[in-house]
């Protein structure tokens, strides 16, 4: 019977996969060669659906950025303008501003744009990344109508350690990372430094010009430098204090699209400086946790566009030099307590203040925001777990309506790891400050975007033997977002932000992973798939005849597969990511510019560890896009073909 059920599950997964699906999950901790592996983990003590990105794969992509990690290993679609260029997330068929990214609990989304550039977040700066799907994000933040991405640092094992790694890749790409962990009695220090530069001058076949020809990518270089410094001080057995700072300087050139490649009279670049600091105090005693935190995030983004006449490169015709400075201050305090009989209450109050200086606003603009959370959880005899969340926001002198979340987790059979989840919630996303105040076109009358969401799914795991473990997760979701903000042409000559769209996003997320130890060989095979249907059902769309058509740049199917093998000191990692076709226009016709074709990209890496006395060396070779697939994630933005990386790491 067990075999039969196993066959059914595998067959179902394959079927779903072939039709293009996806999922995620995970939950296991394996100890291998002093390496802690946290696999796709779904908390089985809660209805909250949170996926931890496998640390195996995160480690393998540590010299890359968050956008590249998520597109390889998660169901979130990453809209990338090219390597080193802007990358934003589309979570569950929503817009970039509907994905909130948190660093140790504080929001990284730009208060101006409402979104995060994932290409500017180095993977080496955080230890764990987890995804909260849809309403599950309400435990940590308001307004994440698609979901939230949590970046957590400070979870490194705290023995003294120095790790230096240097990678060299195609197109003059160099990445150096340094991590130093030190412990001095009650004080722990963790330092992470990141240097990354690339000329990014890959060759591609430009078929957007006549005659088509092989060209070298121009004006696409980037240079990122940054560090994260963390201090943790253990005041007593119950109290701790931590201070974190993340400072980063980023430079990038912004290349033109393929059809505009033939007159090099554009100089377009961006310089960013971000500094983010968090001070936290935590009190933890028996069943009570109390924390109080303060944070200050500073961001300075400079955009420069300079064009000259085509024949005289000294004769400037366009010059835009735009500087946007934002200061965000946060303060929050929270307490959680576990009571008898399975009750747990968690409450948090936070205050955020944003101040923006931009030459695109008519004056300095600011926003004060208060957010109150209460979460009540109850465990009914290990058979049913219930979570109830209420959130209340106050901003722009108004209360947004109170948003509830109710989730249930069932474990119907005491002797089987089969869990059913069901949840429903409401959520409100405040307009970004650009939506409100950009000049011209910002609309200070905008309402928050409202999401009503439902989730249903189940999770099954089984250990058949040491050599075979299986995890399977499938989830169905439906999300209605009203008052979706869209910039539309106004009666004047500029565009203006309005609450006009109504989007229905629904889909299936599935994942399957198999792992185990075979004669000293550890393997893990994981498949994830997302089927996402996201359509505009507003009156405007109905009148315009495009209701029911998939939103632009949201693939209906996307997924990935990876195989990780560890044998003695050798590591092999294979990854294939698949992205279905994407509409680039709301029109049905399949003209060349209206749909981008599906593509799949495969990467392979091979590593070996060496020990020299007490030092450890690790050498890794990686081949990316091994089938040299020609593809675009954004229309007429080329991506690199086959390319390599070599990485040498040194540990003490």
């Amino acid at each position: 019977m067990k075999k039969v059920s196993f066959y059914i599950i595998v067959a179902f997964c394959l079927l779903v996969q072939i039709n293009s699906v996806q999922a995620q999950m995970i939950y296991d901790t394996l100890y291998l060669d002093e390496m802690v592996i946290k696999s796709n983990y779904i908390d089985r003590n809660s209805s909250i659906r949170s996926q931890l990105i496998d640390t195996l794969t995160k480690k393998n992509l540590n010299n890359l950025n968050l956008g590249e990690l998520l597109s390889a290993e998660s169901p979130v679609f990453i809209k990338s303008y090219g390597k080193g260029s802007l990358a934003t997330a589309s979570f569950r068929g929503t817009a970039a501003s509907h994905t909130k990214v948190l660093w140790n609990g504080f929001e990284l989304n730009s208060p101006m744009l409402g979104q995060v550039d994932l290409s500017l977040i180095p993977n080496s700066f955080f230890d764990e990344v987890s995804l909260d799907f849809g309403g599950s994000s309400m435990e940590n933040i308001s307004g994440a109508l698609g979901g939230a991405i949590n970046l957590t640092s400070g979870k490194k094992e705290h023995k003294n350690k120095i790790e230096l790694s240097q990678s060299i890749g195609s197109y003059k790409t160099y990445t150096s990372t340094l991590a130093i962990n030190l412990r001095l009695k009650k004080l722990k220090s963790s330092t992470s430094v990141y240097l990354n530069s690339s000329e990014n001058s890959f060759r591609y076949y430009n078929n957007a010009i006549i005659p088509a020809e092989w060209q070298t990518k121009q004006n696409a270089s980037y240079f990122n430098r940054g560090f994260v410094q963390e201090f943790d001080y253990k005041i007593s057995d119950h109290q701790s204090l931590s201070l974190k700072n993340w400072s980063e300087w980023d430079f990038r050139e912004i290349p033109q699209i393929m059809s505009n490649q033939q007159s090099g009279n554009n100089e377009e670049k961006q310089n960013n400086f971000n500094s983010r600091s968090i001070l936290s105090y935590k009190y933890h005693k028996s069943k009570t946790i109390f924390h109080i935190d303060g944070a200050w995030f500073y961001s300075n983004i400079n955009y420069l566009l300079k064009t000259t006449t085509a024949i005289d490169h000294e004769d400037t015709v366009t010059y835009i030099n735009s500087t946007n400075v934002s200061n965000s201050g946060f303060a929050k305090a929270g307490v959680s307590h576990s009571f008898n009989r399975g009750w747990k209450i968690n409450s948090e109050l936070s205050f955020s203040k944003y101040v923006i200086n931009s030459n695109n606003y008519q004056s300095t603009k600011s926003r004060d925001k208060y957010d109150f959370l209460i979460k009540i959880s109850k465990d009914f005899s290990n058979i049913v777990m219930a979570d109830f969340i209420l959130r209340q926001q106050y901003s722009e002198d108004k209360f947004t309506p109170t948003t509830p979340y109710l989730g249930l987790l069932f474990k119907p059979f005491a002797d089987s790891d089969l869990f059913f989840r069901i949840s429903a919630n409401m959520n409100y996303n405040l307009p970004s400050l650009n939506d409100l105040y950009w000049f011209p076109g910002g609309n200070s009358e905008l309402l928050p975007e409202k999401g009503v969401q439902m989730d249903f799914g189940f999770n099954y795991s089984k250990t058949y033997s040491e050599s075979l473990n299986i995890d399977f997760d499938i989830n169905f979701f439906s999300s209605n977002i009203s008052n979706w903000i869209q910039w539309v042409p106004s009666d004047y000559r500029y565009w203006s932000a309005r609450n006009i769209e109504f989007v229905h996003a629904r889909g299936i997320e599935s994942s399957l992973s198999l792992y185990g130890n075979l004669y000293g060989l550890f393997y893990k095979l994981a498949i994830q798939h997302a089927f996402t249907k996201s359509t505009n059902e507003s009156e405007k769309a109905l009148e315009g005849g495009y209701a029911g058509r998939q939103l632009i740049y949201v693939p209906i199917n996307s997924g990935n597969v990876y195989l990780h093998i560890n044998y003695k000191r050798y590591t092999l990692h294979w990854n294939t990511q698949f992205t279905g076709k994407r509409n680039t226009s709301l029109d049905e016709s399949t003209l060349y510019s209206n749909t981008l074709p599906a593509f799949s990209i495969s990467n392979i890496s091979l590593g070996k560890k060496f020990n020299i006395k007490s030092y450890e060396l690790e050498l890794n070779f990686k081949l990316n896009n091994i089938f040299n697939t020609s593809y675009q994630t954004i229309l007429w933005r080329p991506m690199p073909g086959i390319n390599f990386e070599a990485c040498l790491s040194f540990r003490i």
Partner: protein, 356 residues
């Protein structure tokens, strides 16, 4: 308990999924080339979205009402580019000015196949042939007119204008050039610059209203210039009448509402009636002394009139840019302003030109 043999079987089963994913083909929809021979043509230049590279060219047969989309892409296997702005047709070729691709394509008049291109241009807007082999190219940013040899598509010279340039009209040996954009110039954008097409020199300038955007010539050999009044509605829009021989401003008729932004001044084949867009479509006799109060065609709800053209049959064609994101349409009206038919175009259908 599963045996290792079975486990390996499962792994190979799953691996087949990987192969399936890898082998997923990436076919692009490449529409078949079209048979050429454009008859009774109306060409519509679809601008597409800025920095998106989705411009296109639509062909419409005024007699059979046949419509072919993406004419350029289908016969050249390459996109038209980024923000195609205008089209000009001479005896043998069609010239397509693609603003943000900094390019002008020269294509065959019969099947739109590629004949040549000029791509060392800054921000080209319109092309106007001034003799058998030379053309003037106006520019949104550059303070020069570019003279192009249309035989080999090479740049012959630059004529310093001191201003940016937009629409052009040739009368005798003189070319009258509107200075629409204030971008990259410290002077007011309220001039018509006169260039002699033989000496290639600026010979005069005529002050008109602010933001002159389009220019036509009537049956009395008077020039008409439509001025939209400035980006921030700095002054009342106006319609200026100029004597092209003396370069004198004969009259300036102001629009009563300062918030209006009239564009697209056109003239009928008899050259006795002016047409322009001011949200709605207006028709005005060249003898009229004031702006008409009622339009000949009302812009209905959910319609976004964008460009205007009057056919050799005196019919009125108005493009509807929709919401600027989706494909637009072109509406065809009788000379009296009655809707005859509509046909689909590309994203932001703009400049339109006729060819028989």
């Amino acid at each position: 308990m599963f045996s290792n043999y079975k486990i390996i079987n499962y792994i190979s089963l799953i691996s087949s999924v990987i192969l399936l994913l890898i082998s997923s083909s990436c076919n692009k929809d490449n529409p078949s080339p079209i048979e050429g021979d454009f008859q009774n043509a109306l060409f519509v230049v679809n601008e597409g979205n800025f920095t998106t590279g989705n411009s296109s060219l639509t062909y419409y047969n005024r007699e059979t009402e046949e419509v072919i989309q993406n004419v350029f892409y289908r016969n050249n296997n390459a996109p038209l580019g980024d923000v195609a702005n205008s089209i000009f047709i001479d005896e043998n070729s069609i010239y397509l000015t693609v603003n943000n691709s900094h390019t002008i394509f020269k294509v065959d008049k019969q099947d739109a196949s590629f004949q040549g291109k000029a791509n060392q241009l800054t921000s080209p807007r319109f092309l106007l042939k001034v003799n058998d082999s030379l053309a003037f190219v106006s520019d949104l940013y550059e303070n020069n007119i570019t003279v192009l040899n249309t035989t080999n598509m090479e740049i012959v010279q630059k004529i310093p204008l001191g201003r940016t340039s937009e629409n052009m009209l040739k009368f005798g040996n003189e070319v009258f050039i509107t200075n629409w954009s204030a971008f990259n110039q410290d002077k007011e954008n309220n001039m018509i610059m006169v260039v002699n097409s033989q000496s290639m020199q600026v010979i005069d300038s005529i002050e008109v209203g602010k933001e002159p955007n389009s220019i036509v010539i009537d049956k009395n050999n008077n020039l008409w210039v439509l001025c939209s009044g400035g980006f921030m509605n700095d002054e009342h829009p106006s319609l200026c009448k100029i004597n092209p021989n003396t370069h004198q401003l004969l009259s300036k008729i102001e629009f009563p509402d300062i918030t209006n932004t009239p564009t697209n001044l056109k003239i009928n084949p008899k050259a006795d009636s002016l047409y322009f867009l001011n949200t709605d479509v207006y028709k005005m006799s060249v003898d009229a002394l004031s702006i008409p109060e009622t339009p000949i065609i009302m812009q209905l709800e959910n319609i976004n009139f964008y460009c205007l053209a009057i056919s050799p049959e005196n019919e009125i064609y108005v493009s509807d840019a929709n919401d600027y994101n989706r494909n637009g349409e072109v509406h065809r009206y009788s000379p009296a302003g009655k809707l005859i038919s509509k046909f689909d175009a590309g994203i932001i259908p703009g400049n339109m030109t006729f060819m028989d």
